[in-house]
Amino acid sequence: MPLEIDKRPLWLVLAIRSARVLFFVSLAAAFYFALTISVPEGLTEGGRNAIAIFIVCLILWVTNAVPLAITSILAIVLVPLFGVLPSDETYSIFGNEAVFFILGAFILAGAVMHSGLSNRVALAILKRYGHAPKRMILSIFFLSAVLSFFMSEHAVAAMLFPIVFEIAKGLGLRPGKSNFGKVLFLSLAWGCVIGGVATFLGGARVPLAVGMLKEATGETINFLEYTVAVFPIVIVMLCVGTVLLLKLFPIEITDTGKANKLIAEKLQKVGKITYVEYAVGGVLFVTVLAWMTIGEHVGLAVIALAAVVALFVLKLVRWKDIEEYVNWGIILMYGGAITLGTALARSGAAEWVATQTIGRWGTGPAAVIAIFSLMTLLLTEGISNAAVIAILLPIGIGMAGKYAMDPTLITYAIAVPAGLAFSLPMSTPANAIAVSSNYITVKELVKVGVIMSFTSWVVFNLVANYYWPLIGLWGN
């Protein structure tokens, strides 16, 4: 940050600078107040304390006053400190399978990126299919989506951004003016968002949700089951996305020759496919296959970690290569969120909150799913999708009990929409990256993103109500 002297009146500067202190003092006071009020009917003392902790964490997650991971650590501190769960139980929940699955997925994705395999695949697909403007748009869109099936959508967006940016520059597209430039970056962002919800691998939010479900109810969702349930949503949204991308911003160019040349040059520079790329690709393929076939029996985390060990045994990566791809903050955040969610569930607080809030509006399972999916879609635009899950899922699981619903339905109703953030740059790094290109403005992103968000909510509810019963997920 360049040096700047704040010349506003000192009282104003002081007030602004004190805001943080005042915020935390107020939060501490509110927390103390919540701990001292008499226990409401139907709630235990532990439940009341769990709700107080939940409110503190909710505020911190939403405001981002401290990093998400630190809020989670606070939850892990407060849960045993205020007697919601014993200390040893709290920490054992933190060591949840989902946390290790996420760790394994990070390392696998890191290995794929570090080996250059993902970059090669991206360039090869663009070279093969991107010969005309529309084909190039769709290549980027589907490439982002398909890659996000296998690795974090954030990583895909970060990996493809420089390539797409160079294409835009190579074609001489004017930032903020060129429709083709806008669509290029929109296709990147939307592809990542839509593809990111297709499997457990698109982001850590689904493993987080499944981890919370398992800790709270003992039930789980396996890799294949999830993908089968969600894939129609992905297909429909890809179709809707294709139509909107090609219709909303009329493309002004007719030739992508310069970009194709650029891609060909880049691909040439990458050289021949290496042993490491083959081997990493092989490990990834076997891992995904194992998740789909024996994941439920062996455990997703076990497979992920075994794949990680294999990467190192085969000397395909070094630890220092991988470290930069492992987001320890996210891992801590998820561990803490699972702990807090479990504390809410086991103390009975989640069910109580659900009954007192959404329980009053819900008229049946379909309405509950509609409400939760809508709330999730709205919240995920403003706050971290993991935070949305941490906030809503414990309440949702509590709600399932009230309507005798399978809690896995609620898990889907929150985990899937949590990834469908199309409208704001702060909602997901893919959108932020698209806006950072300066080819598309926030206003334009919001304008078209709202259409996608609303459509995704409708599609999700249609799939939930008409497709899930067909696959036995919703046995009504």
Binding site: L3, E4, D6, L10, V13
Partner: protein, 405 residues
């Protein structure tokens, strides 16, 4: 009436006027006091009401002074003018100044004490001298032989530590002559300021040249300077160009005024100051300078011009009678424009705006805040508040500016 005139002319009963008259005339020192005190060209005295004065005692003109410093019967000191005497305290040269740094530099080469200030010049050069465009009145030891003398940060820290241990001063005044960079010398002073601020709880004032761009003023504040002085010296445009060709040609009067104006928006009230030397221009011009500077929130500081050996400008020093109204105007203007006067106080080498209060026909008393700020606790409080203000005001890190622009 005649008695009033005599008392007024004697100046002894008003320490404010006495300080001015003493600085103009100097003082003779009677034996045996002479042998113990006038080792340098001047002595520091505490006049009645605690007013500090640095009085010339060795210059030739002092031999004609009507003032004599002598020891009285109880071992104290008095100043007499032939008609009356007033008790004073003699501030002896502190022992620590006879020490030296680990690298062998005498402390007295690095620092001078002026009341509650210790003045440190980490580099003794001034490029104006090298180019022959120095200010005509200046004999400041900035000759070319000395120009290369630069004291290390460690040496300066040792001096400040000694000053703190001897409780000799609360304010460190870092001074630098002209250098060719665009930063006005602040780039050079930065490591000294930062080191002093890191190790000692003292107020640091910086006397430098106005930088070419304002971001260096931001930088000056950000790195820890509590007060800054860009000395215009002469307000009258033509006299400024004539007497200070270097300042006028390489910096320019407008840049002085603009830099001071900007600095007053960055630093706290009363901490941005500029010298206007009384006697180098007509009093009316000095008064205009006072009005202009105070309009910008800058504190004018008025040293008195005395010709130095070999530096005669052909300008006779003004008399006390002519100077007093200028100081009165200074006090009233600074007071009326609500500029904090407490930062510039307790300096022996010049009359501060606050001391101008003693020159009013009906002198005003000091308030409780003034007494507080002059106390050690007050100085510590000022330091603390200044540090808090800096923390609130400064965003980002200093030295993020690149290059020399």
């Amino acid at each position: 009436m005649w008695e009033d005139f005599l008392i007024w002319k004697s100046y002894l009963d008003n320490p404010g006027t006495l300080k001015i008259d003493l600085m103009l005339r100097g003082i003779r020192i009677a034996d045996p006091v002479h042998s113990i005190s006038c080792a340098d060209s001047s002595i520091d005295l505490v006049l009645p009401d605690g007013i500090l004065a640095n009085v010339p005692c060795c210059e030739p003109y002092t031999e004609a002074s009507l003032y004599v410093l002598k020891e009285n019967h109880d071992g104290g000191y008095v100043i007499g003018d032939g008609t009356a005497e007033v008790p004073v305290q003699l501030i002896e040269k502190p022992d620590f100044l006879s020490g030296q740094t680990k690298s062998g530099v005498p402390f007295s080469d690095i620092a001078e004490l002026h009341g509650s200030y210790v003045v440190i010049s980490p580099a003794s050069g001034c490029e104006f001298f090298n180019e022959g465009i120095e200010c005509s009145y200046c004999s400041g030891g900035f000759d070319t032989d000395e120009a290369s003398k630069v004291f290390s940060v460690d040496d300066v820290l040792e001096v400040v530590e000694a000053v703190k241990k001897a409780k000799a001063a609360e304010i460190v005044y870092l001074s630098i002559g002209f250098s060719k960079g665009a930063d006005g010398g602040i780039k050079f002073l930065t490591p000294y300021i930062q080191a002093i601020k890191k190790f000692f709880n003292v107020i640091v004032a910086v006397e430098a040249l106005p930088p070419k761009r304002n971001h260096w003023i931001d930088h000056t504040y950000a790195v820890g300077a509590d007060s800054v002085l860009y000395n215009l010296e002469i307000y009258d445009k033509e006299l400024f160009e004539l007497i200070c060709p270097g300042r006028a040609g390489l910096i320019g009067r407008n840049r002085y005024l603009n830099a001071l104006k900007y600095a007053a928006t960055v630093f706290p009230s009363g901490t941005v100051a500029s010298h206007l030397i009384v006697g180098l221009e007509p009093p009316g011009s000095t008064n205009k300078g006072i009005d202009c500077l105070t309009d910008m929130g800058v504190v004018p500081i008025l040293p008195i011009y005395r010709p130095r050996p070999g530096k005669a400008l052909g300008i006779d020093p003004l008399t006390t009678e002519i100077i007093i109204p200028v100081y009165r105007h200074l006090y009233k203007t600074v007071r009326d424009k609500n500029i904090n006067m407490n930062w510039v106080s307790d300096i022996s080498v010049l009359t501060t705006p606050l001391e101008g209060r003693n020159l009013l026909d009906d002198p005003e008393g000091g308030n409780i805040f003034e007494s507080f700020y002059r106390s050690k606790l007050g100085k510590k409080t000022a330091w603390g508040l200044s540090s808090i203000r800096r923390k609130l005001r400064v965003r980002g890190k200093a030295f993020t500016v690149k290059g020399d622009d």
